[in-house]
């Protein structure tokens, strides 16, 4: 009976450990919290990039000197070695800028759909003529927003270092010149 007690303690320990290690626990967290689970591109990177770019763009002469310029989001190329949805970065920037009221955006991604709807309203015969939208009233964009994200990923043994650089450019559609550009550099390490 005496020998059983230490054995029982060991079993209990093992069960406890197993329970701690094996059971998955899901809980909600703060989406704004700094996420450093791995060194890979994460939500904190996305948020930091958007914040810096919005701040830089809103304080730039391009936005300050023109009355609510119309911007069209173009591709931001992912040139890193990992999967990054660059559209979610430009979406965050676009939404924040729209909410600021200082910049307008034309929705180039639904152009075909807009055209189909206009044609439906005009040609189907189902739509009340009074509520038909006029064709030829689209607002032409003043700028294209483009850019790219690159990275340098290094590893030595278990130590990893990742350097991200995202560059955004605002291209004047009439002149073809870059009227505004900024970059955000990020370094992350893991050991």
């Amino acid at each position: 009976m005496r020998a059983a007690q230490p054995a029982f303690a060991l079993v209990a320990t093992a069960v406890l450990l197993c329970a701690a290690a094996c059971s998955t626990k899901v809980e909600y967290g703060d989406p704004d919290a700094v996420e450093t689970l791995t060194v890979d591109f994460g939500s904190t990177d996305l948020q930091m990039i958007a914040e810096k770019m919005v701040r830089s763009l809103v304080s730039s002469p391009v936005i300050q000197q023109r009355t609510r310029p119309v911007v069209q989001v173009s591709a931001v190329t992912n040139k890193t070695n990992e999967h990054i949805d660059t559209r979610s970065i430009t979406d965050k920037i676009r939404t924040t800028l729209i909410q600021s009221g200082q910049v307008r955006f034309s929705a180039a991604e639904v152009r075909d759909e807009v055209l189909r709807e206009l044609e439906y309203q005009r040609g189907s015969g189902y739509v009340n003529p009074e509520s038909r939208k006029q064709v030829g009233k689209q607002v032409g964009a003043d700028y294209l927003l483009t850019g790219e994200i690159t990275s340098i990923a290094k590893q030595r043994g278990k130590v990893r270092d990742v350097y991200y650089k995202i560059t955004l450019n605002l291209v004047n559609l009439e002149t073809g010149l870059i009227d505004w550009a900024d970059e955000k550099e990020i370094r992350k390490g893991e050991r």
Binding site: R2, Q5, P6, A9, L10, T13, L16, L17, A20, A21, V34, T36, L37, T38, V39, T44, Q72, S74, K79, L115, V135, G136, K137, Q138, V139, G140, A141, D142, L144, T146, E148, T150, I152, K154, Q155, R156, G157, V159, D161, Y163, K165, T167, V171, L173, E174, T175, G176, L177, I178, W180, A181, D182, E183, E185, I186, R187, K188, G189, E190, R191
Partner: protein, 200 residues
Amino acid sequence: MRGGPLRVLGPFTTAAALCLCLCACAATAQYGDPAAQETLTIDFGSTDLQGIAEQMVGSLLASPLVQEGSRPVVIVGRIVNRTDEHIDTRSVADKIRTTLLQSGRVRFVADEVRDEVVRELDYQAGSGLVDPATRKRLGHLVGPGYVMTGRITSIRKTAGRKTDLYFLFTLEVVELETGLIRWSAQKEIRKAAKTPLVGW
């Protein structure tokens, strides 16, 4: 005799195992200073990129080409990677371009979206969907006066456990009308690595 050696070992083992588990599972990634010197490996890194861009921008802004206050219009051409490793030379060019743009003394044509700019201009002018009052005018694209081009080369040597790496970055600004190189600068970088006898 109730508390044998194993009895003491029980909680101790638990604590040790928990500690190990925590160490292994805890987030180990952390943010660092992107401007900090990075020497994790000898390969091309962020510090090299930043050093090259800084030297090129400094040299170009001090050159007569930019000093005249003419705000020259430049287009970024090819920067060839002639080293034995993968280097995103466009990222170097981007850093130089962004810094020069922010100085306000050099203007750049967006070479990478030229086709898209023309497509959008055509849409505004030709689709019949865009309000004529907001259409962008055709024929007002600014023609660049200069093209920026360059190369990065390297010499990598190894003797035993020692490696020596030499980078040479050359950047040139070519006047489009005359074809002459109006400005050129270089950045040399040397890095050395010594692998330990044990470890990596």
